[in-house]
């Protein structure tokens, strides 16, 4: 199925040009390797060799301290089962939501899509605190439950179950975004064929649609899983009280000592888990061969009419959204308006002073501007670079590109603080090149390292969905490789690049754990400032700043929705014209 067509291609090209092409790809690979080496390998190397040193001598002591301690395996086991269950729940929520929004005639689709990605806009620091505020021992839900039933509620947020739930409702947008994207650009001729042969809509879903979007589900699940294993805030706030430890909370202990080499050695354990999972996911993805998911024919999605069930489905969806999305946002807004955290909800306890205070701080204002520069810059660079790597890897099948892809994915499994430290080690007193530390550039470098995986994941899975037959058709009609890329591959890849761009933008916009170690005066970010406010005890100001960022994220999402629609319309128009 994945036979290469290049032999035919070779024949039709003069040998001189052929050599030029081969060189062209090799030059591209060389440049990309250089980029990855500087932005990822060099900083990683800076932390890792230090984890192999004890008192100035080579030693495996840090590793034996990590690998020989039973409590670390307990933490590893906890990390694994909690993340697996949380990912399962996230996949369930994300996939169901994507199907309902994309494939049924449920109304308010635009609004629903926006609400469904909203959890991404809440700073990670607040998702756990917000849930404590809602479902903790003195939280709002708990109080309501007591008033209604006169008994303590059946849940306990400070438990593994609480961690799983909060991780799932924080991470399901990964699945929603990737699956909704895949459904939107999927060729539905197979579904149509089944329908005309009299197959029912549920069986079509199960036997045709679901297998076709499986790569997208797996891709989203992978991101959700890795986000779960490297999440620190949620298990720290919810797990410690139940004496429930995971790897990241153990790593944080090593960081407080501070024993960076030990923390690095422990992070290696985390990276190993991530790599094993990555390979397992690739296996699952790879065995499917190549589906003609995007084959260039016009797209008319198969829409299920809900009929009488429509209001019920809509009500269920909204209820879920209110509980898992709007209530945490509400808790955040409430915190930003209350005089102090935990104050009674009486009129004289409401105030705007946190907003005024925070906007009067020049650092916070600079933080907003810097994040507005850094997030799109990082997103753009990553998406371009990762599209090139994915192209070399998936389409040009250039040797070495797969390895590059793998290396660039590793930092995603590293705790942010390890990346932060690696940035200082690499760029505060560098052996070559400029001193980035103390400038905005080091933040950009940190974000590129941290979020490369997002770009690679979304461009890779999109390219895999594009069948080779399209490019082959272009070549056989005499188009050059460059022209093929420009006219065929790039337009089809664009939605995937856009999805990756949005994912990176939103994550980088609120980024905290890397930034907090490498920011300096003049190079503040929103995430840092939210954290500093929170850490200084100004929970209200921190919440106010977080609320101020919500519209940015929402506007961005609406903008991309609009772009996608524009693109679809353009494609329709082009498909409508006979020889365009």
């Amino acid at each position: 199925m994945s036979q290469r067509i290049t032999p035919q291609h070779k024949v039709s090209e003069p040998p001189a040009l052929l050599r030029w092409w081969l060189d062209y790809r090799r030059v591209m690979l060389l440049l990309l390797t250089l980029f990855i080496a500087i932005t990822i390998v060099y900083p990683l190397y800076q932390v890792f060799w230090r984890s192999l040193m004890v008192d100035g001598e080579w030693s495996l002591a840090n590793y034996s301290a990590v690998f020989l301690r039973p409590s670390n395996y307990m933490a590893l086991w906890n990390t694994l089962w909690v993340s697996v269950l949380a990912t399962g729940l996230a996949v369930l929520i994300g996939t169901l939501a994507a199907f309902v929004v994309q494939r049924t005639d449920v109304p308010h689709k635009a609004l629903l899509s926006v609400l469904l990605v909203l959890p991404f806009a809440i700073p990670p620091l607040f998702s756990a605190i917000g849930w404590v505020q809602l479902a903790g021992p003195v939280g709002l839900f708990t109080q309501w439950w007591r008033e209604l039933f006169g008994a303590p509620p059946p849940w306990n947020i400070y438990s593994p179950g609480g961690i799983i739930f909060v991780l799932a409702v924080t991470n399901y947008p990964f699945v929603f975004i990737t699956v909704a994207g895949a459904l939107a650009r999927m060729d539905s001729s197979l579904e149509e064929a089944a329908r005309t042969s009299g197959v029912g809509p549920l069986r079509i879903m199960k036997d045709i649609t679901l297998p076709l979007v499986r790569p997208a589900i797996l891709g989203g699940a992978l991101l959700a899983f890795v986000s779960s294993i490297d999440n620190f805030g949620i298990p720290a706030v919810l797990g410690m009280r139940a004496q429930f430890y995971v790897l990241t909370t153990r790593i944080y202990e090593a960081l407080t000592i501070p024993n960076m080499p030990l923390a690095t050695a422990m992070s290696v354990l985390l990276v190993l888990v991530a790599i094993v999972c990555l390979v397992a996911f690739r296996r699952l993805e790879g065995s499917r061969g190549q589906y003609a998911v995007i084959s260039g024919k016009s797209v008319t999605p198969n829409v299920i009419r809900l009929g009488k069930a429509r209001p019920w489905v809509l009500a269920a969806l909204y209820l879920t959204l209110v509980v898992i999305v709007l209530m945490p946002v509400f808790a955040l807004v409430l915190t930003s308006l209350l005089r102090f955290w935990g104050a009674d909800l009486s009129a004289d306890n409401f105030t705007l002073r946190h907003y005024i205070a925070v906007l009067n701080q020049s650092g916070a204002r600079r933080g907003i501007i810097n994040s507005l520069i850094l997030a799109p810059a990082a997103a753009t660079i990553i998406v371009i670079v990762s599209a090139m790597i994915a192209y070399l890897n998936v389409k040009a099948r250039q040797r070495g590109a797969g390895l590059l892809d793998g290396i660039a994915t590793v930092p995603f499994a590293l705790p942010g603080s390890v990346i932060g430290v690696s940035m200082i080690l690499a760029w505060s007193n560098p052996a070559f090149g400029p001193t980035l530390y103390g400038t905005l550039w080091i933040l950009l470098a940190g974000y590129i390292m941290r979020y490369m995986a997002f770009g690679l994941q979304s461009t890779r899975s999109t390219l895999q969905q594009i069948h080779d037959s399209l490019e082959e058709a272009a070549w056989t009609s005499g188009a050059s490789r460059l022209r093929t890329i420009r006219d065929i591959t790039l337009p089809l890849l664009r939605p995937g690049m856009l999805a990756g761009w949005v994912l990176i933008f939103i994550s980088a916009f609120n980024e905290l754990t890397v930034s907090v170690l490498i920011w300096t005066t003049g190079a503040e970010t929103i995430g840092v400032w939210i954290f500093l406010m929170q850490d200084s005890g100004f929970t209200g100001r921190a919440a106010a700043l977080a609320v101020l960022t919500l519209p940015v994220i929402l506007l961005l999402y609406l903008f991309t929705q609009w772009l996608t629609k524009l693109e679809a319309r353009r494609r329709e128009r082009r498909a409508g014209k006979p020889d365009a």
Binding site: R50, S71, I129, V132, G136, P137, V138, A236, V237, M240, R241, Q243, Y252, E253, L255, T256, I257, P258, M260, R339, F340, W341, G342, A343, S417, G420, V421, I424, L425, S428, N429, Y437, G438, V516, L517, I518, T520, T521, F531, L532, Q534, D535, S536, G537, F538, T539
Partner: protein
Amino acid sequence: MKTLTLLAAATALSAGMTSAAWAEPSGTVTFYSSMQLDVVEPIIEAFEERHPEIEIDLLYSGSVELEQRIFSEIEAGRLRADVIWAANPALFLNLKEQGWLAAHDSEHKHAIPEDLRDEDDMFFAGRVHHMGIGYNTNMVSEDEVPRTWEAFLEWGPQAASASPLHSGTNFNMLGAFTQNDELGFEWYERAREAGMQVVRGTGDVTRGVVSGEFAVIKGIDYIMAGQAAEGAPVAFSFPEDGVLALPSPLAVTAESENDAAARVFLDFILSEEGQQVLVDKFFMPVRTDVEPPTGLPSGDAINALEIDYDWMAENGDELRERFSELY
């Protein structure tokens, strides 16, 4: 070095007077601090008003993140900070030992008790904070306020502490308790039996006691006072069998690029004017000639637990290990 110090002291005294222009310290001082912003910012403001030619570039950070940053910078071979002010004395002992601090013969040193400064003038306490008992005034009536750490445990699961594994102040508290014959590490074992909750950081215990999730906590004096000033139903008490009095050291770094200005700034924080700013923010002053904040007992009326930082440095790992096995 010595002349430089004298020069700095002289210019600090004659600020405003026109001394030789070339000798006037000026430029930017990079200042690393883990002191809360509402404490540091007024000090910087007051300083810059006094010394308009010197600009303070503040890098505020939580104590854990600040230490990580400092150690990473040292590892990379260059410390950016000119002046450091952080909450953990062990950090400064460590920096001193590695030669990253500069001695400073401050004009203010005689106003500061000996146990609040380094014997080699390498660092001085810039403030002192106490860990005692914080409580929710809606849940704990006046006569129920625990007077001892034993009485604290009677609150069972409504009592809470931040984890010594994640909070520096609590780590020192663990050390002070362990070194104390009466309390000992056994206090934590009894706490475990009594059901005391251990949560992550200082922020978590504070939020818990403010919202009424906890009745009593191991709290920090100025945080409780600050929350109370905001209107939260909390108060602080000094238990009779001892509180932790933790100095937050302040130092000039050895490789400072603006040494003279850094010293002027350090002296300002130790001056009566600088200390008064702290007192206004509910901190105990380090100077004997500045009155403590209203409502707080004076320094010598507080029963502070003894703590040996060298012992802490030596036995820290073991202590952490022991605690993590318990909780």
